[in-house]
């Protein structure tokens, strides 16, 4: 069957075994369990040694009414024998569990791609709900694709009959039937899924059995029935660094990274959060890890969440808070206090579509302005951005390091796509990570000398003095201070000096971060594509293809948004052209132009969906034409 949606380049095509990638999208009703199907297919894909990237896309409604177009839930996976960095531009295979799923997804399908539909759901009623005049499975309107359809619902009911489930429950097994078929198509083992079903339904063995039966039935169907157009197909494993692997979502990796960061700092973690999509996942993950000295606190709102975290840092834990768009906005006043009191704090922003409530379940990168500039007065805060689910782990550790080493709040940017997407992750060897243990200040001042909570140490950091330390009682707050003593001081000199110091301290973070590297292409190329965050995948693929096509392009991906690596100015000056693809109206571009006075041109996309590789390729071509 079809290979990857992208035209293979010479190099790729001639590789042995020929590199290929396949994009499959499962789409169905919110109730059809497509996310589960996708998740398990992902796992089996990973176990098969393929590289992969996924893109779950589900509605904002908890359970939108059955059969409606806005109730469609989809899960896309791109996997192959070559390095995969995006969930794929166009699906090669679309599994549509009902008319609405077909309606909302078929246009994305590559021409000639395969549609597998459950005709059992194409009832007049469902067709109407999806806005079909007539049945597309029959009216030839899907001619430009390969269409196969059979009654998955019925086949499932038959398969699970022995277990005497109610009709509703029995139909719930449809997704396993479908998964079974998919496993057959791509020559996968069923065993891991069977194990998983057994543990998942440990409390209800009959459900486990029924689902396993459906899984097997789907698999057998592919094996036995000659489905025209559907052939079994094995995708070779992708070359990968040797080691132990697992799949990880951004939210998981972030949680693990924060735990690791606190452990490396030798601190307890206090996490103050308030639920909001897509940030909640972090709160959920951390609340299960108490054994790592973690206290999670679901506050009454985002303001209380960050304030409690600041309070915890003041008391000697590492305070962490997390939210998305509107919730981050509410935290900005308290961020100012964290800047003023110079306490460590990690603020995680899982960006989503906006403004305002916007598009809670869609991804976007539009909070960079807010992160860098979004506070009253001159209140500098270091900003870091994750580029992928796996990268979130290291970024989280880096955020903890900066926060504790420099006594400063740190903003860690991720987004809804990274939070939910899964990718294979080489399990890190924690022994390889350099610890950065925190040393609380506890030296009692000599006779006649006062406590100096705003004395300056390494990297201009002030001492971290824990309440409970005898002889170091002191007061801090949000009013401007006298350098050193920290006593209230409104004098011009004090304000100027403290403002300069706060700025210098944060800029000084650049001294402890690696130089910016070029991840593809050469220094001083004709064109640099500069990105940040989750646009990494599409940019990297697009630049890789461009280079393969012989274009003089480089890819630079920035993790440290503020301050930027020290070599940035020199690095950027060398490129003839710079384009900055962002899922916003051009925010990083502002920083680059302001900081380095280079003619960085924005490439913007604000649709709630990640860039397609082709979109960036086109921009590169246009620029070099």
């Amino acid at each position: 069957m079809a290979t990857a949606t992208h035209q293979l380049t010479e190099k790729e095509a001639t590789a042995h075994p020929p590199a290929e990638a396949i994009v499959v999208r499962f789409a169905g009703d919110s109730g059809d369990g497509m996310q589960l199907t996708g998740g398990q297919f992902t796992l089996s894909t990973a176990l098969a040694g393929n590289d992969l990237a996924t893109f779950p896309d589900f509605p904002a409604e908890i359970r939108a009414p059955q059969g409606t177009t806005f109730g469609v839930s989809a899960f896309q996976i791109n996997f192959g024998s070559t390095a995969i960095e995006t969930a794929g531009d166009q699906p090669d295979v679309l599994v549509a569990m009902n008319p609405a799923a077909l309606k909302t997804n078929v246009e994305a399908l590559r021409e000639g791609g395969l549609i597998i539909a459950d005709e059992g759901e194409f009832s007049a009623r469902n067709l109407a709900k999806a806005g079909y005049e007539q049945n597309p499975l029959e009216d030839g309107s899907l001619a430009k694709w390969q269409l196969v359809h059979f009654n998955i619902s019925q086949l499932t009911l038959d398969a699970v009959k022995p277990y005497g489930l109610g009709n509703k429950e029995a139909l719930r097994c449809k997704n396993m039937w479908t998964l079974g078929l998919a496993l057959w198509m791509f020559d996968r083992e069923r065993a891991p899924i069977v194990d998983w079903l057994k543990t998942k339904f440990a409390k209800a063995p009959e459900l486990a059995e029924a689902n396993i039966a459906a899984l097997n039935a789907g698999h057998a169907y592919g094996e036995t029935v000659e489905i025209s157009g559907v052939h079994r197909h094995h995708v070779a494993a992708a070359p990968a660094e040797p080691g132990l692997y697992r799949t990880v979502t951004g939210a998981e990796a972030l949680a693990l990274g924060l735990v690791a960061g606190c452990q490396l700092a030798g601190l307890k973690m206090f996490f103050g959060g308030y639920p909001i999509t897509p940030a909640s996942a972090l709160l959920h993950h951390l609340s299960r890890l108490k054994e790592f000295g973690i206290t999670t606190f679901q506050a009454e709102d985002e303001i209380a969440a960050i304030c409690s975290a600041i309070g915890a840092s003041y008391a000697g834990s590492l305070g962490i808070t997390s939210s998305s768009g509107p919730g981050i906005a509410l935290k900005t006043e308290a961020m100012g206090l964290a800047v003023m009191t110079e306490l460590p704090l990690v603020i995680v922003n899982s960006q989503r579509g906006g403004p305002s409530t916007g598009l809670p379940t869609k991804t976007e990168q539009s909070d960079l302005y807010q992160a860098v500039y979004g506070r009253n007065a001159d209140s500098p805060i270091p900003v870091i951005a994750t580029r992928s689910p796996a990268d979130a782990f290291d970024c989280a550790i880096e955020a903890c390091r900066i926060a504790t080493h420099y006594m400063t709040p740190v903003i860690l940017l991720t987004d809804g796509y990274i939070a939910n997407a899964a990718e294979p992750w080489r399990v890190p060897d924690m022994g390889r990570y350099e610890p950065f243990p925190v040393k609380f200040f506890d030296t009692v001042p000599g006779e006649g000398q006062g406590v100096m909570p705003y004395a300056r140490g390494d990297g201009l950091a002030r001492p971290w003095i824990k309440p409970g330390t005898p002889g170091l009682e002191h007061r801090i707050g949000g009013i401007e201070k006298q350098p050193g003593t920290g006593n209230i001081d409104y004098s011009p000199g004090a304000h100027q000096e403290m403002t300069d110091t706060r700025a210098a301290k944060v800029l000084g973070v650049a001294n402890s971060i690696p130089d910016q590297e070029i991840c593809l292409g050469r220094e001083g190329a004709k064109l640099a594509v500069v990105g940040w965050g989750s646009t990494f995948g599409p940019i990297h693929q697009a630049v890789r293809r461009a280079i393969a096509k012989g274009q003089d392009v480089a890819h630079i991906h920035i993790r440290h948004i503020w301050p930027m690596p020290k070599n940035m100015a020199v690095l950027l000056k060398d490129f003839e052209n710079i384009i900055v693809p962002e899922m916003n109206m051009g925010q990083l571009k502002t920083l680059l132009r302001d900081q380095f006075l280079v003619d960085a041109q924005p490439l913007t996309k604000v649709s709630g969906h990640p860039f397609r590789i082709a979109e960036i390729e086109a921009a590169i071509d246009a620029r070099l034409a």
């Binding site: 990973a46 040694g49 132990l244 307890k268 709102d301 409690s308 308290a334 399990v427």
Partner: protein, 336 residues
């Protein structure tokens, strides 16, 4: 909290910072009362943290020789929650004003009370915004003329203690800035495990002078102040008058002091607490510990759960990152 803390005097609890309230402000009296009370509490200075919001009253922490955190407007309870959860050993005092705790901060006040975090909350109620130069506050009486209400305020004030009761507070008391009983009230608040809510009537000499005179003036104090004592009769006016239940109207009424119907104060009775808090015109003002009914504290419940959830598990970071279904990639691309 009752560790071997050295014997101290009020002076030991005063910081070296110059006090910056207006001459004659009721805040001075409260500061003195607190500094006089601390030595009797058997707590160490280094384990004591005063957390405040913003307002004249919220400057308080600067004047205590303890750890102190002058935070942002209305959010002190949230900071206090983080501090106490991070280190339950600390003795946490929240200092706030009527605007800080009940205008911008009402929500956090409610939540810290319902969660029952172990702390003392001293609400300096002067029925005005002092620091911002005298605008009316949510506790100002209807008709209050202020820079923002030149024709008098029209919205009905909230009753702090009633709000606390409605929010699930387990300890509710009242005091007066200059009254000799204040230290007793503070001690009771400190002795209570959980969130102790203390409303202190505080005179703002500049913007709301004598607003409480109707019951604080020496001449009328005896008749208009009802100091409650657990297990004691509800007597006032030098014992000549008392409170009893009006069984017909199901509310409280004033009777002669020697009337056997005079009620005995049971701090655990929520229904009566509400009536005492809202004693109408013509009744005295209920003072002292109005309601107290201890319940498990938030930080202890959190700590216990954390311990229980952690027990038996070892915090193995390497194991954690390697969790879930994994696969090994050998040198050669691997096949199942």
């Amino acid at each position: 909290m009752n560790d071997m803390s050295p014997v101290t005097t009020a002076k030991d609890w005063a910081s070296d910072q110059e006090v910056r309230w207006c001459p004659g402000c009721g805040d001075y009296a409260v500061l003195k009362a607190v500094q006089r009370t601390m030595p009797d509490l058997g707590v160490a200075r280094e384990k004591t943290v005063f957390v405040s919001g913003i307002g004249c009253s919220s400057r308080f922490p600067y004047y205590m020789a303890t750890y102190g955190f002058h935070t942002i407007h209305g959010r002190a309870p949230a900071f206090a929650t983080g501090i106490k959860l991070a280190n339950p050993e600390l003795d946490v005092w929240i200092i706030t004003g009527d605007g800080d705790a009940l205008s911008i901060g009402g929500n956090h006040t409610m939540h810290v009370l319902r969660r029952n975090l172990d702390c003392q909350i001293l609400l300096f109620n002067n029925e005005i915004y002092g620091l911002t130069k005298g605008q009316y506050s949510p506790t100002s009486r209807v008709g209050t003329r202020s820079p923002s209400t030149p024709f008098g305020s029209v919205d009905r004030p909230v009753t702090p203690c009633m709000f606390a009761l409605g929010s699930g507070a387990r300890f509710i008391a009242r005091g007066i800035d200059v009254h000799k009983n204040l230290p007793e009230v503070l001690k009771a608040a400190h002795a209570h495990r959980g969130a102790s809510f203390v409303e202190i009537y505080q005179n703002c000499v500049v913007y709301n002078d004598d607003v409480f005179a109707s019951f604080t003036e020496r001449s009328v104090a005896a008749d208009n102040q009802l100091w409650l004592q657990p297990g004691e009769k509800m007597l006032f006016a030098g014992g000549t008058k008392g409170l009893a239940l009006d069984v017909e109207h199901l509310c409280l009424k004033v009777v002669e002091g020697d009337d056997p119907a005079v009620l005995v104060h049971d701090p655990k009775n929520r229904g009566v607490a509400g009536m005492l808090i809202e004693l109408p015109q013509g009744f005295p003002v209920a003072l002292g510990v109005i309601y107290e009914d201890p319940a498990p504290t938030f930080e202890s419940a959190v700590r216990e759960q954390n311990a229980a959830a952690a027990s038996g598990k070892t915090p193995d970071l390497q194991a954690l990152v390697a969790k879930g279904q994994t696969w090994q990639v050998e040198k050669e691309p691997h096949k199942l």
